[in-house]
Symmetry: C2
């Protein structure tokens, strides 16, 4: 299974199989059942996670008590409150399994030691964060500019894997739509395909 992680690293930087065997012990494997929490909100954020198999979502609990999803991660995606992780501070975000999930987790101490020992991984993480940050700037664009229907169809087109796997109410939460609205435009789309 970690073979997937080895391949992912080698998409962006170069490490050998031997190096990878030295890299793996810096991580721990976490197995999650559906709906199990990986990260509890209101705790110190000292870990980042790479999804080997399955799907998780990150959410906060709003002032009115509603859960609001701000990020998903499926295979080959990293997830954490990266600012709190960098600062070693408190996070408000929860991370929960959407389905049976296996992640590789690394804490801050191991993360720093790993990057000191394998500087090639600085390039790997630089590119991961560069792409993620760039993509989030685009998300602001479509949140600000698109109609609700456009937001939904943009998401389905960009991330067909999610749209298949993730319950409708979580997609609605992520896109800032009501579940009823998503259900409505899905029905409309089935009746009148574009």
């Amino acid at each position: 299974m970690p073979k997937r992680f080895f391949q992912h690293i080698n998409q962006f930087t170069t490490i050998t199989q031997q190096e990878f065997e030295q890299i793996l012990p810096f991580f721990e494997v976490n197995q999650l059942k559906k709906k199990q929490l990986l990260v509890e909100g209101n705790t110190t954020c000292d870990t980042i996670h790479f999804v080997l198999e399955g799907c998780v979502h990150m959410y906060f609990i709003g002032e009115n008590g509603t859960k609001r999803t701000i990020k998903f991660a499926i295979e080959n995606w990293w997830i954490s409150d990266f600012l709190a992780f960098f600062q070693g501070s408190h996070t408000d975000f929860y991370i929960q399994a959407v389905e049976t999930t296996k992640v590789l987790s690394i804490n801050a101490k191991n993360h720093d030691a790993l990057l000191d020992k394998f500087p090639a991984l600085e390039k790997y993480f630089r590119i991961i964060y560069q792409i993620s940050y760039g993509a989030s700037l685009n998300k602001f664009r479509y949140l600000f500019d698109y109609s609700k229907e456009q937001i939904y169809f943009h998401f389905v087109k960009e991330f067909p894997d999610f749209a298949q796997r993730v319950p409708q109410y979580l997609i609605a939460s992520f896109l800032g739509l009501t579940p009823e609205y998503v259900s409505e435009i899905r029905k409309k789309h089935v009746l009148k395909p574009a």
Copy 2:
């Protein structure tokens, strides 16, 4: 002036003054007058920019023709459409000077050559993007959860420098508020300080 850039790099990684002298020629200096465009939308994005002095904003033109600011950068901030830069693709975003501005710009070819020659800079950029991405996840949180008034005061508290320097209509655009609304809550705040 580039001394500021040298210090900024050394906040996150370690380079010597001699190395810095070899690093600088990879960049070009761009001087901008107030309102001058640094990047034109609908062009290939092949450059990222570091603000030495001044302030710029990045915006797109919405479907209804309105300009919408999605990011500011003042001294020591990087700005670009980082996803398009990584992919070497087309950007929809414009970058414009808010005041007289001086930036250091590096194109993709020089960027790759620079990081090959000075791998210590991988760490620098990894941390820059990690912080920026983490901060953008928090921005989704407050955009989704806060009232308009909370969004405005959160921004003013987090970024007092911007609030002083940037015209009110750009702050309004960035926060998804109308200029009239910002003007109103500013007045209210002056009359009834918190």
